[in-house]
Symmetry: C2
């Protein structure tokens, strides 16, 4: 018994023991040199040479076990295909990468059980922290968030007093920006295509739409409101239903994907955008600018929210004792061709050279 330890694992892969043996020093010295801390010139030379000869690469897992951190950060969103999350992911990835960490992404499908599973799995510490953007929130959920063993930052609305790092936006105000703008360009029958009302953003946007109309003293025709899902196909179907029973002169959509679906529905039924129906999306993703006509869209600062969430998370990882913080990003409206100030003209508006200065500009935050 008692033989110290295999110097060469059966695997053949070099470990710090291999390097140390080859350099004729102890593993402690080898490790120190490899980490650039301490060591005499001679030792440094020998260890470096030995490491290079055997092609030594430190094992990330063993290092993690020792250092109690994995260098990974998780991001959980509903759908990694939604461009709004893509933009958020890009922003987060940039911050996270600059701290030398890597990103693990999870698609939750918006299902609470999936999110709960993820939160529970956090306990086994496979990541150093997590950014999650839940679209539905329950009490269990909230409990799991505040009781999480590793830092969690929430992107999105949350119960007001939840002691969790949180970066949110004011999507009610965002909807108001859209409504105000449409009224300002003379639209009166404004429709609304929303996502599910049992989601946090869906509920907030519905409330925002109603409040905005009420503020202007306009009575809402329920026929002008339709609900689908936060996806293209569902948005298009919802728009088709709405158009079948009502004749809006403008549509606000809770999402750019829905807006693209609505655009398709409008064009496919021979309506002109914006002459017959003005259209405004939400999230201001790349998609909005790819459409023809380019879509006006309410920016909810997804990239900015992602960036800030990542920074909050990194700070909390560095100092878990920090008090919970909350940050807010203001929405703004990007006006583009789909809601250009073209007066609703009679159908055969002959002039093909009608001037419509459709260059996008941003309207201020002030309502």
């Amino acid at each position: 018994m008692g033989r110290k330890r295999l110097q060469e694992p059966a695997d053949g892969r070099p470990t710090v023991h291999t390097v140390a043996a080859r350099a004729g020093v102890s593993i402690a010295s080898a490790s120190r040199v490899l980490n650039g801390v301490g060591g005499s010139p001679e030792t440094i030379r020998k260890v470096r040479a030995a490491a290079a000869e055997v092609g030594y690469v430190p094992n990330a897992i063993a290092r993690s076990l020792q250092s109690q951190r994995t260098g990974l950060v998780a991001l959980a969103v509903e759908d990694i295909g939604n461009p709004v999350y893509v933009e958020m992911m890009r922003a987060i990835e940039a911050v996270v990468a600059s701290s030398g960490r890597q990103l693990v992404v999870h698609a939750t499908g918006g299902r609470i059980d999936n999110e709960m599973t993820l939160l529970r799995r956090l306990a086994n510490r496979y990541v150093d922290g997590m950014i999650i953007s839940p679209i539905r929130v329950t009490d269990d959920h909230l409990g799991a968030l505040v009781g999480s063993p590793v830092p969690v930052v929430v992107v999105g609305q949350l119960g007001a007093d939840a002691p969790v790092d949180n970066v949110r936006t004011d999507s009610r105000h965002g909807v108001a920006l859209a409504v105000d703008h449409l009224l300002a360009i003379g639209r009166r029958r404004i429709g609304f295509v929303n996502g599910p009302l049992d989601t946090v953003p869906g509920a907030a946007r519905d409330a925002g739409f109603r409040a905005a109309l009420a503020r202007h003293g306009i009575e809402l025709d329920e026929d002008l409101v339709e609900v689908g899902d936060f996806q293209y196909a569902a948005g298009r179907a919802a728009a088709v239903r709405l158009l079948a029973r009502a004749a809006p002169d403008a549509l606000v959509c809770a999402n750019d994907l829905i807006a693209v679906g609505a655009l398709h529905a409008l064009l496919a039924t021979g309506r002109r955008v914006p002459q017959d129906v003005a259209l405004i999306g939400m999230d201001d993703t790349e998609l909005a600018q790819m459409m023809f006509p380019q879509l006006s869209s309410v920016s909810l600062g997804s990239a900015e929210r992602g960036r800030r969430a990542a920074e909050l998370l990194l700070q909390r990882i560095a100092d878990p004792a920090l008090p919970p913080r909350r940050e807010q990003v203001q929405p703004s409206l990007a006006v583009r061709a789909s809601s250009a100030a073209t007066p609703p003209s009679p159908r055969p508006s002959a002039d093909p050279f009608e001037p419509t200065p459709a260059h996008p500009y941003r309207e201020g935050v002030t309502s």
Copy 2:
């Protein structure tokens, strides 16, 4: 000297030692029960109870160190925003998740140095395997791939004899499908908007386009070929350049993003699609169907390629001694409105009920 080991880490988080002590058994027994292997009914009861009481959750890192696997699989693509990679990612995620693993995504930006860094980092075994879709390939690169210490599967074209698991498609043939179809519906001046020629897909598609025309005995007018980047903005700019100097009656695009850009350019300059110019994209992503008119697109089976790549990878992880395999996915053409067999009609058809009304205004596309 002497004292065994802290039962309760200063941290306060329960370990298997905590559970074992509380249950009055050894850590070996505790571990066995927790893994569901062995243990008498009484032991099982005690350990389960103790684990529940202290809220024990096994530490994933320690487990990884012992088992020599992390349960993570990496995916490296050029741009996580490109819908083709989103679809691929979804397919991969499904397979990977069904094996109980998780996905780590990396955006390489198509830069070889980034990819090399990733490949080198593989050596520290932070993941069990990697799927990579390089758009540029060098010899160094190839060396790093074949010499990788952990399983790697490549999605995309590769040097013919590289001993690396690889799933590819025949994009030359894909381009041919598009060209054949356009010729069949009577188009003669077929343009091509490609991505960079120094990329593998760019080169293959260029060759495919030229070969397809040659096969039909058509001489290529170089004015009808334009190169940009595999992105929306670059595609749009490239299409604008092309349209400024030539008058195609059809456009093939190397990518759906490019095709969307081209569509925008066409519509913004008052051209009708497909009446004036038929349009075909490539990759057949969701985006193609979101457009109005819906875009024909050559499917290169991105989801299928992702699925197969994931399966190859899992099999190789299970048995690293497997010989390298290569799989091929056949392209197919999805014909939609943008290349419907509408004969090129004379311009002025002022029919107000024409199904695709031209938009009477121009957008900020510099001509």
